[in-house]
């Protein structure tokens, strides 16, 4: 039984037969083909096939869910019975619900199957290019994979979505070594619709490899000062984590989100506009359907610094009385600014080019601190040298408000598109 729709329909029927008032069933079939490089050498070809059946039932306002990775009818019948037991054990909650009916749709993107020879030749080409251009670089691990996902989402309100997606993903972890001196490791990742371009020309990998060779010889910073940081595109996703988390179900339902009363208010610099675009042409590695069963739409989270939406699911929306988000976040696209990166650097009196942030998860109030990794000291408008043993401390919410510039240039990672962002008033401390 490998037709996703047929399996999902069987699962949905089993849930209703077992007594669910409302039910949903999602079947996802995934096959992954992966080429692995360790220590600069091909080491492993990995092929995995998996099945995931997610079932949810609501009975008398009580909700239960389970997932299994078997799709035969016996397993589905057993899962349906289990999930009704789980629901019976839950507390009733008026906010439990499933998505209302929407027009049935079939979504697809990308290829159906990988080109393994092309994957091998593109990876080999990258390894050879890195060896020639950056001999100090040690490619600790590089992975190029192709993942094809076919899924079907059905619920008892009549939602009926079938999706198919094929996407290539590349990730790399690397460091550089010169004699006994070793750089901090760095990493990056990007997704691709196809393998038309050389991997070294995708995302930010080439620039990061070059920086890695410079970062063998770092200098610790002395003392402590309040200065500017320029956050690179590779680091911006980490810095936006606090924002997306604070807008999501958990902190919004518990009431601990500092943005809970800030809809349509200024929460960031007017220079900042942030979108979630899972179904945009800009994003090859997005998604078509939200986990609660809505066809995903693009949205604007922050428009010129003003908060335009929370990131609430159907449950979160019903629980808080606020609007449901039209997607489930991610696929972030940050609008470019009007200043070239070079000008941004020139405008910094003293600060840090923050290329990787190794920090603790932000507090609920936004306090954040961590080590500036793979980063550079900026003085009098010039990038001086790579630093080590230097910490950044501040508040993520304040940092959003204190953005002073957004670069004209952006990096396209396939799953997000980010510029460089300059922020003032950050505590920077060395030894």
């Amino acid at each position: 039984m490998q037709d996703p729709r047929q399996v999902a329909q069987y699962g949905l029927n089993a849930l209703l037969k077992a007594g669910a008032d409302k039910a949903q069933c999602t079947l996802t079939l995934t096959d992954k083909h992966e080429l692995n490089v360790d220590l600069g050498e091909f080491t492993l070809v990995r092929t995995t096939f998996d099945t995931e059946v997610g079932v949810t039932a609501i009975k008398d306002g009580k909700k239960g869910s389970t997932s299994i990775n078997k799709s035969d009818s016996n397993s589905l019948d057993r899962a349906a019975a289990d999930v009704l037991d789980i629901a019976a054990a839950s507390s009733p909650d008026e906010a439990n619900d499933i998505a209302e009916v929407q027009p049935a749709a079939v979504f697809s993107s990308g290829s159906d199957a990988p080109d393994m020879d092309k994957m091998h030749s593109r990876m080999k080409e990258m390894l050879q290019s890195v060896k020639a251009a950056y001999p100090k670089v040690m490619m600790r691990q590089a992975i190029l994979d192709f993942t094809r996902t076919r899924s079907c989402f059905l619920n008892s309100n009549g939602v009926d979505f079938v999706t198919s997606k094929g996407v290539y993903s590349c990730s790399a972890i690397f460091s550089s070594k010169d004699g006994e001196k070793v750089s901090s490791f760095n990493y990056t990742a990007f997704s691709l619709q196809d393998l038309e371009k050389a991997l070294l020309n995708c995302g930010s990998i080439d620039a990061l490899l070059q920086q890695s060779t410079e970062q063998v010889h770092t200098r610790p910073m002395e003392g402590k000062f309040v200065g500017d940081i320029i956050i690179t595109p590779d680091c911006l996703g980490d810095m936006l984590y606090f924002l997306s988390y604070s807008l999501s179900n958990g902190p919004m339902i518990s009431g601990t989100s500092i943005y809970r009363d800030k809809l349509n208010e200024q929460i960031a610099s007017p220079m900042l506009s942030i979108h979630s675009r899972p179904v945009s042409d800009e994003i090859c590695d997005g998604y078509f359907v939200t986990p609660d069963g809505y066809a995903a739409q693009n949205s604007t989270i922050i428009q010129n610094g003003v908060l335009k939406t929370f990131l609430l699911s159907l449950y979160g929306a019903r629980k808080t009385g606020l609007d449901r988000a039209v997607n489930s976040g991610g696929a972030f696209v940050v609008d470019p600014g009007d200043m070239p990166l070079e000008e941004m650097v020139k405008s910094v009196k003293k600060g840090v080019l923050l290329a990787r942030f190794s920090g603790g998860d932000p507090s609920d109030n936004g306090d954040i601190s961590g080590v500036a990794k793979n980063s550079y000291l900026i003085e009098d408008g010039k990038i001086k040298y790579p630093i080590s043993e230097s910490m950044i401390s501040g508040n993520a919410a304040d940092m959003l408000m204190n953005v002073t510039a957004v670069s004209r240039e952006r990096v396209d990672y396939g799953f997000s598109v980010y510029p460089w962002v300059a922020v003032s008033g950050v505590t920077i401390s060395g030894k």
Binding site: D50, S67, S90, V182, I253, N365, E389, M391, S393
Partner: protein, 459 residues
């Protein structure tokens, strides 16, 4: 898990092969501010094969556990290894041959609790928290359980079966002071199925009382003074230091990629007060939180002594790295899901206890910090580390002062360990976290309190 005797499939092995059947079973129940926001179970199982051909590896997995799936997985993994070998021609020859066997099942012997019982457990705990601490702005209580069951057969003749469970109750408390939220979370639990780890909600009441008292102080806390500081790292932080800052740099795959530990075996890398061991399955006669007896390559798991009295003694290995270094494999290889290939992972990594009393350590510091609870952590190939600190106090003139707000500490481990001047005799283990390295994996971390110098984030 579907019972399938793997031994009959050895005849299908044409090269070095590992055949593994695995099931991961999870339970997750969340109560957020009294709302039962999640109530779920899951099960993920399947079969995998990994094949070695002259230095090239092939891996394949299937979500089914039956004869056909086994045959397909072995064939696909073999084809993958041959695909790579035909293009790379590494000519590295055979892996070292090891054979071991074990059977270790930590399933409870007690009657199993149903989902309803578990939900009731959290509900009772939540009722207690909201009744006892009415000034809390929010509370989140979570039950999370993971049973990991594996059966392994290798072409070397190793075979093993293990069922290693872990169960935790997370309690996350939040206070609002002047409109600013402050949170403190704690994980209670460890090795075992829920019935063996927890008796009833009152078992946790005194620990939650202590957690709440710390939270009140933290809500009135101050930002630390950023910069280098003399600190006492309490046991949990010493444990994460052992894992993140030292442990990772001594995993042989990271050593080979140029970690700072490369070429330092036999050299002094820490104060003579520091001994660091990655325990396979027991420490001091007690079973560790993540016991490993035979690893996922079929090697008997042995304790790996990393640092002995300040001197680096060795690394953690798989078969391939052990062969390259000319030593025996240490049994450090594990995979998280049936569909994951085995990697070099730590098991139960700890700094060994010393003789200095904690009170004396605090009294010896004129101006510094006593850091108690870690959050997330990360380390680098340079041994530069970072850990979040979610609970700590300032030390002024040898006495504990005000609590501090969430912060981060950092340092270069191989430098920082030379600043260790005192080590306490009491040891504590934590095991709620997952280590991330391509795949997540449960790990244990342990240690005593350690006095040292680290850089602390703040204002």
């Amino acid at each position: 898990m579907h019972s399938l005797d793997l031994h009959g499939y050895a005849k299908l092995f044409t090269s070095y092969t590992e055949l593994r059947a695995q099931e991961n079973r999870t339970v997750r129940i969340d109560f957020v501010k009294g709302n039962n926001t999640r109530n779920s179970r899951s099960s993920t199982s399947g079969i995998s094969a990994r094949v070695h051909s002259d230095g090239s590896w092939g891996f394949a997995s299937s979500p089914e556990i039956n004869e056909n799936a086994v045959k397909l997985a072995i064939r696909a993994a073999t084809d993958n290894a041959l695909f790579l070998d035909s293009r790379e021609r590494k000519g590295k020859g055979l892996l070292p041959i090891v054979a071991a066997s074990s059977a270790n099942d930590y399933s409870t012997k007690k009657p199993r609790l149903g989902q309803k019982d578990l939900v009731q457990f959290v509900r009772e705990l939540d009722d207690h928290v909201v009744r006892k601490y009415p000034d809390l702005a929010s509370r989140t209580l979570i039950i999370t359980c993971l049973d990991m069951e594996k059966t392994l057969l290798t072409s070397d003749g190793s075979h093993s079966h293990s069922m290693i469970p872990r169960s935790f109750v997370y309690v996350i408390l939040s206070l609002m002071k002047d409109g600013v939220p402050t949170e403190l979370s704690e994980a209670y639990g460890g090795l075992g199925q829920f019935e063996d780890v927890f008796t009833s909600p009152p078992q946790l009441f005194s620990d939650i009382e202590s957690q709440y008292e710390h939270l009140v102080k933290k809500s009135e806390g101050i930002h630390p003074n950023a910069g280098l500081a003399t600190c006492v790292l309490d046991a949990e932080l010493a444990g994460i230091l052992a894992h993140e800052a030292i442990g990772h740099t001594t995993e042989a795959d990271l050593v080979m990629s140029g970690s700072v530990a490369e070429g330092k075996v036999g050299r002094e890398v820490a104060s003579p007060l520091v001994t660091l061991i990655d325990f396979a399955n027991s420490c001091g006669g007690k079973t560790c939180s993540v016991p490993v007896y035979v690893d996922d390559e079929g090697t008997k798991a042995e304790d790996a002594v990393i640092i002995e009295k300040g001197t680096l003694k060795g690394y953690m290995h798989n078969k391939e790295s052990a062969d390259r270094f000319g030593v025996s494999p240490t049994g450090n290889v594990r995979a998280y899901q049936f569909s994951d290939e085995p990697l070099i992972r730590m098991r139960n990594t700890a700094i060994m206890p010393g003789t200095d009393k904690l009170d004396d350590m605090i009294a010896s510091i004129d101006n510094g910090y006593y850091l108690i609870k870690p959050g997330n952590g990360q380390a680098d190939s340079t041994s530069e580390f970072m850990f979040a600190v979610t609970l700590g106090y300032e030390i002024k003139s040898g006495k504990l002062g005000r609590a501090i707000r969430d912060t981060t500490i950092s340092g270069v481990a191989f430098d920082m360990l030379k600043t260790v001047t005192m080590v306490s005799p009491d040891m504590k283990w934590i095991s709620s976290g997952m280590c991330g390295k391509k795949q997540p994996i449960p790990v244990g971390m342990g240690g005593p309190a350690v006095k040292c110098k680290v850089t602390i984030g703040g204002r």
